[in-house]
């Protein structure tokens, strides 16, 4: 059973989530090839050759793939598809963008956001904001799958795969990149952090998010937010945790001034330990919290920082 896994990266580093997607692939079969599509992405290729259990790394290094435009990447993947029975990508915004396009070009269904592999054609995925868990069988001969990384552990980076350079360039000529406005942060990515502290509407404004900084520094944590905090403009969109934002499952998740709406819980309730700080004892977040404290966050946060 040959499997193609598309590497998630930013041309300079391989995103750690790819290691989890490879774990999902290993639960399907053992003949695993990676694809790195990017531009000037030698570092990524090097990292990819070290991923455990991978035999080959295909490299398409061309300006057409620099920004992961779905129109171009999907053509490339479709061209390679005949050699593989399973095609996997990580369910992050890049994979979510181009994979359904690949599936439709191949005339197969896509199984989105799997959290477990039952067999080579049967997969488990959450539906209804994680309030139901479905087991779905693919009836297509080729399987196009996106993997939710919270379901799988990262594989080791002790491999030694062979590099194969591809010379095909698939520029659909339909779209072009204009600009990026990326959030710069010294902190770990939400997807990679083992501790996350998130603020909600209760933070009142963007400035108050500074109250989370000192705690995040001490714990090596990433900072997240609820939709309400993003919509209100306190923090940028890429900090949103939830059903329709980032799905995370760190060892420790601290929710501050977040009520615990279904959509927020969908993005964090698989965290190992959940702490809630909220002044309303009835807030639904306390129903999923291992440790709750009913307190005003403006008192609790400075005290917590000083006692860590």
């Amino acid at each position: 059973m040959s499997i193609l896994v598309i590497v998630e990266h930013d041309n300079s580093s391989l995103k750690a989530e790819t290691l989890k997607t490879v774990n999902a692939a290993q639960k399907i079969g053992s003949d695993i090839t990676l694809l790195v599509a990017g531009f000037n992405c030698q570092n990524v290729v090097e990292a990819a050759t070290k991923v455990n259990g991978v035999s080959k790394v295909l490299v398409a290094d061309n300006a057409a793939y620099e920004h992961q435009l779905a129109e171009n990447v999907s053509l490339l993947v479709t061209e390679l598809a005949s050699d593989y029975e399973h095609i996997l990508a990580t369910a992050l915004t890049t994979g979510k963008n181009f994979m359904p396009r690949v599936a439709a070009l191949l005339d197969v269904a896509q199984i989105s956001d799997i959290i477990a592999v039952e067999s080579s054609d049967t997969f488990v995925r959450p539906i209804y904001a994680g309030n139901a868990i479905s087991t779905v069988q693919s009836l297509d001969s080729k399987k196009v799958i996106t993997v939710r990384t919270t379901g799988f552990d990262a594989v080791a980076t002790d491999g030694n795969a062979e590099v194969v350079t591809l010379n095909t360039v698939t520029d659909a000529g339909l779209s072009s990149h204009v600009s990026d406005e990326l959030t710069v942060s010294e902190r770990p990515d939400l997807g990679a952090a083992s501790v996350i502290i998130s603020g909600g509407r209760g933070m009142q404004n963007g400035d108050n998010f500074k109250l989370l900084d000192g705690i995040a520094d001490k714990l090596g944590a990433a900072i997240g937010a609820s939709r309400a905090a993003v919509d209100a403009g306190f923090v940028p969109n890429d900090m949103q945790v939830g059903q329709t934002g980032k799905i995370v499952a760190p060892d420790l998740y601290i929710a501050v001034g977040i009520s615990g709406a279904i959509q927020h819980l969908a993005g964090m309730k698989d965290s190992k330990v959940i702490v809630a700080i909220n002044k309303d004892p009835e807030a639904p977040i306390f129903q999923v919290a291992d440790y709750g404290i009913v307190a005003d966050l403006f008192d609790a946060l400075p005290e917590l920082e000083s006692k860590l």
Binding site: L69, A70, E71, S74, L92, T93, T94, K96, N97, F98, P100, R101, V102, A103, A104, L105, A109, Q110, S112, D113, I127, Y128, A129, N131, A132, I133, S134, T135, V136, L139, L174, S175, H177, V178, D180, E181, L182, T183, G191, V195, V230, D231, D238, Q243, T244, K246, L252, I262, Q263, V273, V275, F286, A289, D290, Y291, G292, I293, V294, K307, L308
Partner: protein, 250 residues
């Protein structure tokens, strides 16, 4: 230019769904249903394009049984000019929905198709991208800004690292993210007016597409419950528990 807006009838976002005791599916009997929130944002965007003079006509379309006419009427009340229901009693895979939509795109020739980025029930996040592939159009997914300029549309997309702006040749597919706009409420006069706007019903079988299911739902189970936690009385106690009981900080 014409704008086509595919919309889906889904469970109301405030309702927590229950799984059927036999684990065959979720139980939607007597559940409050609504227009998928991302589709509401899609309609709003299309209507604003019309109000700005960029779009000439907004067409709402839904694939589903008779009950989805309720959501199509809502779309008409929000400002769509006419509606199409593709009638089927089956719950089709996103690929088959995209194939039906492709036929309508061929017939109506819209310059822009605006869909939701995902439906809050099946959470697939596929249909727009699939329709883009089938029609050979470029796609601007997870849009937070849409600007039509001449024969191109610039779409600012919510991506993992922040925002990315792409330029797409028209005709194009856009899927909406939460920050694109804040949908209006339908006013009573507009709800009345919507009742007289055209709504055409076309049986899915008439499109001559093989709609065989590509996936099979084997079972649906409730998620693992988290066991109840405790309320601590002080920050000192919290820090002590995190260190010595949960062992997640040192």
């Amino acid at each position: 230019m014409k704008v086509l807006v595919p919309i889906k009838r889904v469970i109301d976002y405030n309702v927590k769904v229950r799984v059927k005791p036999d684990h065959s599916n979720v139980d939607l009997a007597n559940t409050k249903m609504a227009i998928n929130p991302f589709c509401e944002i899609a309609i709003e965007e299309a209507v604003r394009l019309k109000e700005a003079g960029t779009a000439t006509e907004v067409i709402a379309i839904s694939v589903g049984d008779k009950s989805c006419q309720e959501q199509l009427r809502t779309a008409l009340a929000l400002g769509a000019d006419r509606a199409i229901q593709i009638e089927t009693d089956e719950s089709l895979d996103a690929l088959n929905i995209a194939k039906l939509l492709q036929k309508v795109v061929e017939e109506e020739q819209p310059q822009l198709v605006i869909l939701g980025k995902q439906s809050i029930d099946s959470d697939n996040n596929q249909t727009g991208q699939m329709l883009a592939a089938l029609t050979g159009m470029p796609q601007g997914t997870f849009a937070s800004v849409v600007k039509v300029e001449g024969d191109k549309v610039n779409v600012t997309r919510e991506v993992d690292g922040g925002l990315q702006t792409v330029a797409l040749n028209l005709p194009a597919i856009v899927t909406t993210d939460l920050r694109l706009n804040e949908p209006r409420y339908a006013s009573l006069p507009n709800i009345m007016k919507a009742k007289r706007k055209p709504l055409v019903v076309k049986p899915a079988a008439d499109f001559g597409i093989d709609l065989t299911a590509r996936t099979k739902l084997l079972k649906v189970t409730p998620p693992a419950e988290r066991k109840a936690g405790i309320v601590v009385e002080s920050i000192d106690e919290l820090v002590e528990k995190l260190k010595n009981e949960a062992k997640v900080i040192s």
